[in-house]
Amino acid sequence: MNITSAQYRKDIVSNNIVSIQATIDGTEMSVPLDPDNRHYAEILKQVKEGTLTIKDAD
C-alpha cells in the first residue's frame, strides 16, 4: 500500500478529528479512525515505522 500523504480532518460541525484524508495508491481517500479499517491500520504502521507523518488538520 503506497501512502504518499495523510492529514487529519475535522468534523465540520463538532470540530472533532474524525478521519484522515490520505492519498493511497494514487487515489484520494477518507480513512476513518477505526483500527479494524485496513487503511487506518496501514497508516498507523507506517507512522510507527517512521515512513509517514500525518499532518495536523487545517
Binding site: 468534523d11 465540520i12 478521519s19 484520494e28 477518507s30 479494524d36 487503511h39
Partner: protein, 365 residues
C-alpha cells in the same frame, strides 16, 4: 463426481461437524460479483482488489504484469471465472518475488472449524481451474491469528479441472471470534526462493517457515502465453470436498460482498444527499445515508468523476474537497467548493451525468 460419492462425502462431512447449507465460507466463489469492473490491466506493481469481489491480488517485487478479468469461460454449471492473462513476462525471479490470489476471511466466519481445540475439524478446499498449458501451483491455508500454515500443490491443464484438497485439523491456535482477518486461502502463482527453497509443508499445520510455503510451483510469469482461470471455490468443514454450493440469488451474493465493498455509480444526474452550507465554501449533510448492508468495519471512502452541489435556483458549484464521517452503518458527506455558497441554504450533492462518478466504500480485510 458420482452421486454416490457426493453423498458419501456429504455424510462424511456431517459426521465431521460440517455439511448442510451455508457450508461454504468463501464469498463470491463463483466469481459472479465484480463491483470494481470486469477487467483491470497492468497489474503487478502493487497489490489490491481488482475485478471479482473478495478476491485480492498480492504481489511483490516482480516485473511481470497481468490483466485480470471476470471471464465468461467456466465449467458446466458456472457462468463466470476469474482469469489472469500474463502481459509481461518475468523469467528472472528474485528471491522475494511473489504473485498470489488471496481470499481473506473474518474470524467469526470460521469458528465452525474449532481450530485450536481438541475438537478441531479438517478443512476441505475445492475449485475449478484451467490454463494455457500444464502448470503446478499451490493452495495454502494461512492462520493469521497464530502465524501457522499448510500448503498443497495442484495441477492445471488446458481443460477445466476440478481440484479437491483436504487439509487436516489443527488443534493448535484458535481463530479469534471477531471481524478481523483470521484465515487466508492463498493461491500461489509465482514465487522466488524465499518461498520455494524448502520442502512444501503439506502434511500438517506448522508455524510459518517461508521457504516451505510454495515449494514446487511453476511460474505464471514465465511467458506471455500464460493464462490462469479459477472459479467454484469452496472451503468447508470436513474431510471431503463436496459439490460447489451455488448461491443462485445474485442479490444474496452481492449483499455478502457489500459487507466489504460498496460502490454507488451515477445514473443520470444522481443526488447523494442534501447538505446545508456552513459558510461560503463548506457544506455538510446532516442526515446519515444508510448502507444497504452493514459493513464489516467503518469503511474508507473515495470518489471519482465530477461532482457538484446545486441549490435549485440555478446555481451550481463544482466540489473541490470532501469531508464527512463514515461508520459501518452509513455515511455523511461534507463538501468544499471554491466560494459562492449562501450560508444556511440547502444544496443537493450531485454526481454529474455521464461523468462515471462513483462513491466508493471499502471495508475489505
Amino acid at each position: 463426481m458420482s452421486k454416490a460419492a457426493e453423498l458419501a462425502n456429504l455424510i462424511g462431512n456431517i459426521n465431521a461437524g460440517g455439511g448442510g447449507v451455508n457450508r461454504n465460507v468463501i464469498i463470491n466463489g463463483a466469481m459472479k460479483v465484480a463491483q470494481r469492473g470486469t477487467s483491470s490491466t497492468g497489474i503487478g506493481a502493487s497489490g489490491g482488489f481488482f475485478t471479482c469481489d473478495r478476491w485480492a491480488i498480492d504481489v511483490s517485487g516482480t516485473d511481470g504484469r497481468l490483466t485480470a478479468t471476470q471471464d465468461s469461460s467456466a465449467p458446466s454449471g458456472f457462468a463466470n471465472s476469474l482469469k489472469f492473462d500474463c502481459t509481461t513476462a518475468d523469467t528472472s525471479i528474485a528471491s522475494g518475488e511473489f504473485l498470489t490470489i488471496q481470499h481473506r476471511i473474518e474470524g467469526q466466519n470460521v469458528q465452525s472449524f474449532a481450530k485450536g481445540t481438541s475438537d478441531a475439524k479438517p478443512f476441505a478446499v475445492s475449485f475449478y481451474v484451467k490454463g494455457n498449458a500444464s502448470a503446478t501451483y499451490v493452495a495454502e491455508l494461512y492462520d493469521n491469528d497464530n502465524t501457522r500454515q499448510i500448503s498443497k500443490t495442484f495441477n492445471v491443464t488446458t481443460d477445466w479441472t476440478r481440484v479437491e484438497l483436504t487439509y487436516p485439523a489443527d488443534t493448535t491456535g484458535a481463530f479469534d471470534d471477531d471481524n478481523a482477518l483470521s484465515l487466508y486461502l492463498i493461491i500461489w502463482l509465482h514465487a522466488g526462493s524465499t518461498y520455494t527453497s524448502g520442502t512444501l509443508n503439506s502434511s500438517s499445520w506448522a508455524s510459518v517457515t517461508s521457504a516451505n510455503r510454495a515449494a514446487g510451483i511453476s511460474s505464471f510469469f514465465d511467458s506471455t502465453d500464460r493464462t490462469f482461470f479459477i472459479t467454484g471455490v469452496q472451503l468447508e468443514v470436513g474431510q471431503n470436498p463436496t459439490e460447489f454450493e451455488h448461491i443462485n440469488n445474485f442479490g444474496e451474493e452481492l449483499a455478502r460482498c457489500q459487507r466489504y465493498y460498496q460502490v454507488f455509480t451515477e445514473s443520470g444526474d444522481t443526488t447523494f444527499g442534501n447538505a446545508v452550507a456552513y459558510s461560503g465554501n463548506v457544506g455538510y449533510d446532516g442526515t446519515q445515508q444508510i448502507f444497504p448492508v452493514e459493513m464489516r468495519a467503518s469503511p474508507t471512502r473515495s470518489t471519482s468523476g465530477a461532482w457538484s452541489v446545486s441549490d435549485g435556483l440555478g446555481n451550481q458549484f463544482s466540489i473541490t474537497a470532501y469531508y464527512g464521517n463514515n461508520t459501518k452503518w452509513g455515511y455523511q458527506l461534507g463538501f468544499g467548493v471554491s466560494s459562492g455558497l449562501t450560508t444556511g441554504r440547502f444544496y443537493n450533492i450531485r454526481a454529474l451525468s455521464g461523468s462515471g462518478s462513483q462513491l466508493i466504500f471499502d471495508s475489505e480485510l
